[in-house]
């Protein structure tokens, strides 16, 4: 009896070795200026992330999900998208979302619980970061179906982590997208952990990418800390989708250097030595800087000038977030459940306002 099995181990696609040397095919469209822009964004994102953690410790920011270590995976993948493409991110895509056009203060306001942080600039087809794991992957398929039905030259991308690949919605999405050959790109950041559970407990296959085979679509495994390789892989996936070649599953192998969120303590589940390797030798920003220096495209003066500018931009974003008008409770609580409030909602809102006018000492009628 002949049976199906997975025997072919394909190494993750790599263009930059950890020492910054070029070991793979360089994408044609990538010149030094673009590469510098990737680097600036990655440094900006890292410093933003670290600043957000500090703000949290100071009690100025609520729960926050850091992405440090995943900058190459995020900037490299978002860089392959057009502004008109559809983007369905998860909550850990803040670096990519900022690159795509989300103002940094909105990312901070999200962790301050401000409802306006759920909005994205009107010109973007990007939805707010999804909290429920894997649900957004299906939404990307729906948007991709709409693009296909209307004959539009757009792709729809879904971003998620390794944990999401255990959810039914991930599998339903890949299958559905494959059957209808919609212009979708599924980008998985395999950052090794879903909170505390390692990827080896998430799946018995050695890779996420090989799951594509079961759905009849292309899978790519890429070194997620190599921004050039991520960019090249994502460009291939996006180009295939745009040309009617159907969906692609891209797995970027990366590492979450920080906790799952500010409410997590990763020391309880991480191997300190493995951690040290990822944080030092395999760090994505270090790798790109070494590459740029080899090309003569970056130096210490450029570094310190950019760090100064990045920090100024972050400080300005913090200032804008902290001076942002507080939400109107009555509007937020009752205003956007439906397009038009139901009579019961309108009555609750009126009761809430009346109680507030009386000083709010007794709670409000709806709560009693």
């Amino acid at each position: 009896m002949r049976t199906y099995s997975w025997e072919e181990e394909i190494p993750a696609h790599q263009v930059l070795a950890p020492d910054g040397s070029v070991v793979g095919e360089w994408p044609e469209s990538l010149d030094d200026e673009r590469l510098r822009s990737f680097y600036r964004w990655m440094v900006f994102a890292r410093r933003f992330d670290q600043r957000a953690l500090t703000l949290h410790r100071q009690g100025r920011l609520g729960t926050y999900a850091p992405f440090s270590g995943q900058e190459a995976a995020q900037i490299g993948s978002f860089a392959a998208l057009e502004k008109t493409d559809w983007v369905f991110p998860s909550y850990r895509e803040v670096a990519g979302m900022m690159y795509h056009g989300l103002p940094p203060e909105m990312a901070l306001l999200f962790s301050k619980g401000h409802p306006d942080a759920g909005k994205v600039p009107a010109e973007l087809n990007m939805l707010p970061g999804k909290i429920v794991i894997a649900a957004q992957i299906l939404h990307a398929v729906g948007a991709a179906w709409a693009c296909k039905q209307r004959g539009e030259d757009r792709v729809a991308s879904a971003f998620f982590g390794d944990g999401a690949t255990s959810q039914g919605d991930f599998h339903e999405a890949l299958n559905f997208a494959a059957v209808f050959r919609v212009p979708a790109v599924f980008f998985c950041q395999n950052n090794q952990f879903a909170i505390s559970v390692p990827v080896t407990r998430q799946m018995a296959t050695p890779t996420v990418a090989q799951k594509a085979v079961a759905y009849g679509i292309e899978g790519i495994r890429v070194d997620g800390n190599d921004v050039v390789a991520v960019y090249a892989a994502m460009c291939r996936a996006v180009a295939r989708a745009r040309a009617g070649g159907g969906p692609t599953l891209v797995e970027a192998v990366t590492y979450r250097q920080g906790p799952h969120t500010t409410a997590d303590d990763p020391r309880r589940y991480r191997d300190p030595q493995v951690h040290q390797t990822w944080v030092e030798a395999l760090d994505p920003i270090r790798r790109l800087r070494l590459c740029l220096e080899r090309r003569g495209a970056w130096d210490e003066a450029a570094e310190s000038a950019w760090i100064r500018e990045a920090d100024e931009r972050i400080a300005a974003a913090v200032e804008r977030a902290e001076s942002y008008p507080a939400p109107d409770a009555a509007e937020v609580l009752f205003g956007h459940v439906y397009a038009e409030p139901t009579p019961a909602l309108a009555a609750q809102r009126a009761g809430f306002l009346a109680e507030q006018a009386e000083g709010g000492a007794n709670g409000w009628p709806g709560a009693r």
Partner: protein
């Protein structure tokens, strides 16, 4: 006015809405080539093409999840869940996603989808093709839930559901598909969501019901009328948001309220209706509220005796009416 079967009213309203607005498209299992297992979508793929009547894989969460994404991109999806029993794999997409996207994006995004699902028993559907699942969703802010009882309302509420900017669950009772016939206005006017309808005027007691219950109540009311009992019947039509004003008015009208639904009693729609009446009209009542509902068992059995034992009957409703009238 044309006289149509309940199922024809749904089919025709779907076709008319698709002809009116090219953003409207249908997706679901067997909806295309086969025209649906109940033939609700018969002929629509031939008329509107594969891209607008999409036969999907057997995947309920994806049917709703894809509908949500397509609606974000500007389409108006009408998703069919083949049997309401099978809506459960899609519950996360309905409750966490469709119902909340407007709220969590502070009005930046909305979700104009319709999810149609045939529900209810009486057609030998057994445990997994007979359930009433509407109450699972009437608890959820952000959703609208309708359950038409007549062909006119089936057409009119479907039109409203498709034109509504928010997600609407449209529950069609499968026993009504080919057993109920009625006049449907040619003009194709929508029936507004959130409005109950008095289906019979009366003065001795009020029945509040929906779906198949409306027809049982109407027939039972005829029976007891011959005995001198005058029954007022309110058809809820929309289960969320409930038409609170109409419910209270109907309760006050007679002072005696009998709630009838096929779904089981605990935390069913009747629980909310009776709570509303207790909160706002208790002193207008002349008798305790009574709920006549399906038994507290997981689902109805397949064997005819078991199905019959589960289902409400005209005689059962009539008996409850008599008892209430005597009180």
């Amino acid at each position: 006015m044309a006289v149509k079967l309940y199922i024809e009213a749904i089919h025709d309203a779907l076709a008319e809405e698709m002809a009116r607005d090219e953003r409207v498209f249908i997706l679901g299992e067997d909806v295309g080539v086969r025209g649906g297992v109940f033939r609700v979508t018969q002929g629509l793929q031939e008329r509107f093409g594969e891209y607008r009547v999409l036969d999907t894989p057997l995947t309920e969460s994806a049917i709703v999840g894809v509908a949500i994404g397509a609606s974000a991109a500007g389409l108006i999806p009408v998703a069919e869940i083949q049997f309401a029993d099978f809506i459960l794999p899609a519950v996360n997409q309905i409750i966490s996603e469709a119902a909340k996207i407007r709220y969590r994006s502070n009005n930046d995004w909305h979700c104009p989808i319709v999810v149609r699902a045939p529900y209810g028993g009486g057609v030998h559907g057994a445990l997994y093709h007979s359930q009433s699942v509407e109450a699972l969703f009437t608890h959820v802010p952000g959703l609208k839930v309708v359950a038409p009882a007549t062909p006119a309302d089936a057409a009119g509420l479907l039109r409203s559901a498709i034109r509504d900017p928010d997600p609407v669950l449209y529950f069609e009772h499968k026993k009504l598909y080919r057993s109920v016939r009625g006049e449907v206005p040619e003009a194709g006017e929508p029936v507004p969501i959130g409005h109950a309808k008095v289906q019979r005027e009366g003065s001795d007691l009020t029945v509040i019901t929906y779906g198949l219950g409306v027809h049982l109540a109407l027939e039972a009311a005829e029976q007891v009328a011959a005995e001198g009992v005058s029954v007022h019947i309110l058809d809820l039509r929309t289960l969320r948001p409930l038409d609170e004003e109409a419910i209270l008015e109907a309760a006050r009208r007679t002072g005696k309220v009998l709630i009838v639904h096929e779904d089981n009693k605990v935390c069913g729609v009747g629980a909310e209706v009776s709570a509303l009446i207790a909160e706002h009209a208790l002193f207008d009542l002349d008798a305790p509220i009574r709920r006549l509902a399906g038994p507290e068992v997981p689902a109805m059995g397949y064997a005819p005796t078991l199905e019959k034992a589960y289902m409400l009957s005209v005689d059962g409703v009539a008996e409850a009416m008599r008892a209430m009238a005597r009180f």
